[in-house]
Symmetry: C7
Subunit: 253 residues, 7 copies
């Protein structure tokens, strides 16, 4: 009955300050992010890496159904963690911004600019009544003027720039892993290895290709590339992280 009472209390209300200056709805939205599986971003000397945990709860659920890596523009990818339906809204918003920028200024949008347009959009949902905050965090990675850039948007609408970060489940453990192992001089290969290593570290040390999503934006081509499962398998094998098959591989397309 007590739990019941607590639940009822959260079926009403809008986002306002608590006496200690906190916005509880925003903090609860951060909890919604933690309920999603992990996503990781790594910035390297020649590009950015996005890697996500995309394990599915049922063998009949298509792996592709778990959309956690999205192409926002030719040179920008976005990984998400948290409330899936909310993520889709923000990705749609981001894509519209890239098109608006192209139409208005005749050139692709910057990674930082795009991130801040998204966070300003998110902020509105934390200040003006009649809606709840977005329960999702995004990792926005791409190339700005030849430089790899990696940003996070959180449910408060704050933009952060990172060398490497994790969002979603196990964020604490994963972020610690990244801090210990990040090498600012590493290239894309090193960045992929670090990201996969981190994901495996919270997954009994090994991964199935179908459980991972992987994408990069490299400095040279300035283009977003999402990896097929066999290439993911190769990377896992190279890094000694390939699951030896105790769990059945669905082998789906």
């Amino acid at each position: 009955m007590q739990g019941q009472a607590q639940q009822q209390a959260y079926d009403r209300g809008i986002t306002i300050f608590s006496p200690d200056g906190r916005l509880y709805q925003v903090e609860y939205a951060r909890e919604a992010v933690k309920r999603g599986t992990a996503s990781i971003g790594v910035r390297t000397s020649d590009g950015v890496v996005l890697a996500v945990d995309k394990r599915v709860p049922s063998p009949l659920l298509e792996d592709s159904s778990v959309e956690k890596i999205h192409k926002a523009d030719d040179h920008i990818g976005i990984a998400s963690a948290g409330h899936v339906a909310d993520a889709r809204q923000l990705i749609d918003f981001a894509r519209r911004q890239t098109q608006v920028n192209q139409l208005r200024y005749g050139e692709p949008i910057g990674v930082e600019t795009l991130t801040k347009e998204v966070t300003d959009h998110i902020q509105q949902y934390t200040q003006v009544g009649g809606a709840r905050p977005f329960g999702v965090a995004l990792i926005v990675g791409g190339i700005d003027n030849g430089e790899p850039r990696l940003f996070e948007t959180d449910p408060s609408g704050t933009p952060y720039e990172w060398k490497a970060l994790a969002v979603g489940a196990d964020r604490g453990e994963l972020q610690e892993f990244l801090e210990e192992n990040y090498d600012g001089d590493a290239d894309l290969e090193g960045g992929i290895a670090l990201a996969l290593d981190a994901l495996a570290s919270v997954n009994d040390g090994s991964l199935l290709p179908s459980e991972v999503g992987l994408a990069t934006v490299d400095v040279e081509s300035e283009s977003f590339e999402q990896f097929e499962q066999d290439r993911i398998g190769d990377h896992l094998e190279e890094n000694g992280l390939l699951d030896d098959g105790e769990e059945e591989d669905e082998g789906d397309e």
Copy 2:
């Protein structure tokens, strides 16, 4: 009096996050889905199968009154489970989207595109105040570029792609049945057999033709086909699932 108190609490409020990052109204809407009879979707090598439990609570209620399979477009069918009136709203929305797509792009809408337009619509009702979420889940099945596709929309507005799935009453039991018996190489006939078998499994092992709705979209014709009762009867008989008549068959048209 306690039950009373609980009920009263749910006559007010909007959808916001709980301290552990959950959206209770969305979770309660999922309960509304479970209150509806089961619907099943199966993807096969040459098409998709939609099968629904359409038993009626009264012999005077027309079987046709239980609308759980809907044609969304020539090549797309939708099965629903949950709050019937809400389902009608979403089906209407989906049909308008197929027409808009035809008018705007001169070609039929994709199954995935349609699904995501529906889920984006659903998401709005979970974030913006002044309305409750939709208490219904849809199974959207059809042919995209010659490939059979099968999607689910849930009350949170998340799209899922499945090989086979069940929504509504007995979802847990049915999904387990599908996982154990799904064969990725089966054809439409096999898919129909699996779907009917699953429905029968939670219904004392046999079914009356009038209690079942059945439809397919096959890869060859790319056209949605809803089955008449006699054809359903044939399929039940072939699969040894035909009810032997202990319950009176209404024999209506």
Copy 3:
């Protein structure tokens, strides 16, 4: 004081889901339907029958004041049960729809189409805030392409098609009576007999003509016909249901 407290709780709120997936406001609206006197619909081989209990609480209240059978179009009649003022709103809505259809398509609206336009309208009042649901159920009967059709709209906005049904007070008892006595091959005469029999069954076995409303839509003429009291008296007499006058007949017009 306890009853008081309960009442107060229902003077506020909007329609949202309870933890078990129910919409209490819709369920309470169904209770409002039960507070109204009964209405019955019967589909026969050559038309539909609408019969209503229109007993009045005072001898000074005009029988005609109890409007429970309404002509929606030449070929469609509607019987209502529940909150009278709400019924009027829906009847007005239905009549506007028949006119819109005539203007737009140059042909009369279908019985099923009309029913679903009404239920979609009802559904809006259960999902969007700022208004309560309609506390009324309608029986929509008429001829679609030469076929008699009989529908129900309930406060959730769900359309049902019936062979025979009762709404309002004593629904359970009346529906059971109909199930036991319904004969799918009966003609209009048989349908009228069944409907009057049912009404009498919950009214000490006999009825006064002034206590009953009766209307039909027959397949041949495709036209709605409301019966005068003397014709109702004849039907009651034929079926041995005429009240022998222990209660004073007002003899009004």
Copy 4:
């Protein structure tokens, strides 16, 4: 303090259903009607009678200040009971409707049509949020195609047609009096006598002309006529109901 707590609860809220299908705000509005002094309507063979109790709480308050009988159109009068300010709003609405009808159709509005336009207006205030129901009941009397008609509008927005009725204070007692003494064959004189008799019955058996409002609409002239005090006095005297002056007559014009 308890009464206090109850009062506070009613300073908020909108009109929704209770678990037993009732609309409390509408029922409370009916209580507001009972707080007003009584109004009576009687239909006779050659017209309708409206009679109202217009006793004032202070000798300095003008009798004319108690406006309970209103001319809605040449052939329609309205008596009200309950919240005076609300009555004025509905009377204004009714008058606008008579004008709109005259302009649009070039003929006077029917008594039944006018009543239903008023009740439909009332119903809106019981279903859509942001306002409370009207705390008033109206008796609408007039001539439709040569026939005297008498209607009631109640706070739920339900129209009733009556032979004779009372609204406001002592409704139960007055209605019983009318039921016992109503004679369907009586003419206007008889109707006036019945109405005054009824009012006197709850007022120690006699009345002062200044305490009564009286109006008729007769079939012949089809015109509303409000009676002056001396004519009311004559009618009281004829019927042996004239107060013998133990209470001081103000003698005010």
Copy 5:
């Protein structure tokens, strides 16, 4: 703490019916009227008298600052009691109505017409949400077709016509005084004497000219006239009500 709890409860809510059919917000607004100093209106054979208590809480506050008598039109004056800022809104509304009437119909507005336009405006604030009622009562006095008329508007939006009335503080006592001493044949001089006598009766029997506001509208000139302090002093002296100066006269112009 209890008082505290009560206060808090009244910082929210809108105006709805209580179970016994009362509108508490309107009743509380009447209390706001009683918190204001008294205003009196007297109708005489040759005009109307408005008299107000305008004692000020500080000798430094200008007597003229207490605006309780207002000219609404050449032939209409208004005295107010209660929430001063609310009174100003209604006076402004009344003045606009007089101008609109002049523009639209080319003649001055009637006293009764003006009163009812004001009360209809007041009523809206008691029925539609989003605002509180007006906490003020007005006495509207003037000449209609050569006849002196005297009306009251109360917070419910009910118009009353009076021979003589008091609103504001001590209403009960003052009204009783008026009832005992009102003479329907008195002229303006008699009316002024009665009004001042009444005000003095609740003020130790005497008044300072600066404590009183006085105005008349006489039948002959049909024009509103507000009295200067010396004329008020003369009237007080004539009637033996002049304060003998135990309290210091400010002597302020």
Copy 6:
């Protein structure tokens, strides 16, 4: 925890009447006025004086930062006390009104007219929902047709005219001082002396020039003049109120 509970209660609600006819939000707004430092206005035979306490809580805060005296028009000055941000809104509103008046009528606005436009604006925030009252009081002083006038606007939207008044902290004590020492025949010099004397009386008897704001509008020039610190120092010295420097004088510009 109790204080906590009280605080929470005031984070919701709109302005409505309490059972004793009070508007608590308006009364609380008056408390907000008392939280501000004092402002004083004095009307003299040849002009009005505005004097304010502008002590700052930190020596690093610019004295000029405390804006409590504002020029509204050439001939009108306004002193404020209470919530500073609210005061700015009202001053802006007042300035717009002076411009509108100049544009519309080609002449400067009257002091009384301006005051009442401001109070009517304030009143709206106490009656219509969706906003809180203004937590500020203004002293509006200026010349109307050669006469010095001095008004107050309070949070209820009531305008008052004064000979001399204080608003803000210590209002009770200051008003008493003014009442005891006000001389209606004094000139501007006398008025300045009275105002400074009053401010010093609640400040240990002496003042620093930097702690005081001073302005006048004189009858002759009809122009608002704000005093520099050295002139304020001269006035303090002349009146024996100059602080002897025990507290450090910032000596800033």
Copy 7:
């Protein structure tokens, strides 16, 4: 459970007055400011200095990610403290105002004018319902007509002008430091030294260049200049505040 109850209470409500005249939501917003790291502003004889603590919680978070100093116009800089996403909204608002001013008047906006346009915007969020206040304080520094000016905007919407100030964490301690050490005659070098000294005083006496943001607007050039890390390092070294490296310097770009 108690903490829980408190939290729930702050998930609803709008900004209204408490009985003692306080606006709790505004006070809670001030707490949100204190939750941010410190920002400092110092006005000197030849310009203004803005210095901010920009320590990051993770070595992988880019220092540049912590945006606390913003260029508002060529001659105006803004430092912020508190809720980062809210700060971005206000900075955007400020930048739009500078552009509007340039377009409308053809000249750069004044520092004071800009500050007050921002505070008026902030005030709206504390008075009108449907949104929460801004949880951020800004320090606005620049050159007005050759004079250095330094302002603060607080969550109530009050503008303050300062010689030197701190906002955010440790405000009390920092402000005290500034009061003790501020020298009105110091030049920009002195102002930078004071600001860095203050920041170091609450940070164990030394700082890393990467932990500090620094900017100036000097009187001569009237242009905003943000300092690179090496120049910051030089200033820290000159003032003996450079961290000796016990904490690892990220050495990023």
